[in-house]
């Protein structure tokens, strides 16, 4: 599945993990981050949104980015800062441009079976950014604010 470590002395408020490119990693990352968010005080609705966004980012990294390649890893960094949960997920795939992703809300795409992951991430976190890495890979950054912040 991969390696997971909480930063020493941080009270578990920072996670660095390296995951294998397999579906089990998606579940592991989702659990790790939602546990962290729960401990930070995010409510059930936000935990659900964080879980979905995290899951979509991990699936993109494992399935579309690394394409299940055992030689490629997915790196996740998650931390809490001033009432906000930050998550950065990076793969080692070929990379892609968000602007090239077909609009899943366009009438002609409504009945497509895939292509909604980015839409859900954007809907469920407060800040969302995709960056192409050099020489290879894609990095997704997401921030979710505590409602009571």
């Amino acid at each position: 599945m991969g390696n997971l470590a909480a930063e020493p002395g941080s009270g578990g408020s920072r996670l660095n993990a390296v995951y294998n490119s397999e579906l089990e990693s998606v579940d592991a990352a989702e659990t790790a981050v939602t546990d962290m968010a729960k401990a930070a005080g995010f409510d059930e609705d936000d935990l659900h949104k964080i879980g979905i966004a995290l899951r979509e980012a991990m699936v993109n990294a494992v399935v579309h980015g690394n394409q299940y390649n055992a030689a490629k890893k997915v790196r996740m960094d998650a931390w809490l800062d001033n009432g906000a949960l930050h998550v950065v997920i990076a793969d080692e795939g070929k990379g892609f441009e968000v602007t090239n992703v077909p609009d899943p809300l366009a009438q002609e795409n409504l009945l497509k079976e895939s292509g909604r992951g980015i839409l859900l991430m954007q809907a469920f976190v407060d800040e969302f950014q995709v960056r192409r890495l050099k020489p290879n890979g894609t990095e997704v950054t997401m921030v979710k604010y505590l409602a009571s912040r």
């Binding site: 899951r55 009945l111 079976e113 909604r116 859900l120 809907a123």
Partner: protein, 114 residues
């Protein structure tokens, strides 16, 4: 919790009671198999009860769309029953509320099939 599915017949309508998570992997493949089995048995009117489904990711949504198009393309009907607020929100966000016919009451849903 992975996805658990149970089929039952109400007249000529196949009701599939789903419980758990519809996510990429076991969840989506189980749902695909259940739809394929229903169609293979000649049952083209399908009511998918999501009352006990608490989590659907984009792959799960894609599987619902696939089920809808597969059933429709075979001349059948697929409708959804008992969506909780989170799943309703997902269908709103993805605009799929314009595609799926959704019901809250099973008897009303059963009567709506033609």
């Amino acid at each position: 919790m992975s996805l658990k599915l149970n089929n039952r017949q109400v007249g000529d309508i196949t009701v599939i009671d789903a419980a758990g998570r519809v996510t990429l992997g076991e969840g989506t493949s189980s749902l695909r198999d259940a739809i394929r089995d229903a169609l293979g048995a000649g049952h083209k009117k399908v009511l998918l009860n999501l009352g006990e489904v608490n989590y659907i990711d984009s792959s799960g949504i894609g599987e619902l769309v696939s089920a809808f198009t597969t059933v429709t393309n075979q001349g059948g009907q697929l409708k959804l029953l008992s969506l909780n607020k989170r799943i309703q929100d997902l269908l709103q966000i993805t605009k799929l509320y314009t595609v799926f016919e959704c019901h809250d009451d099973e008897s009303v849903a059963i009567r709506s099939f033609t």
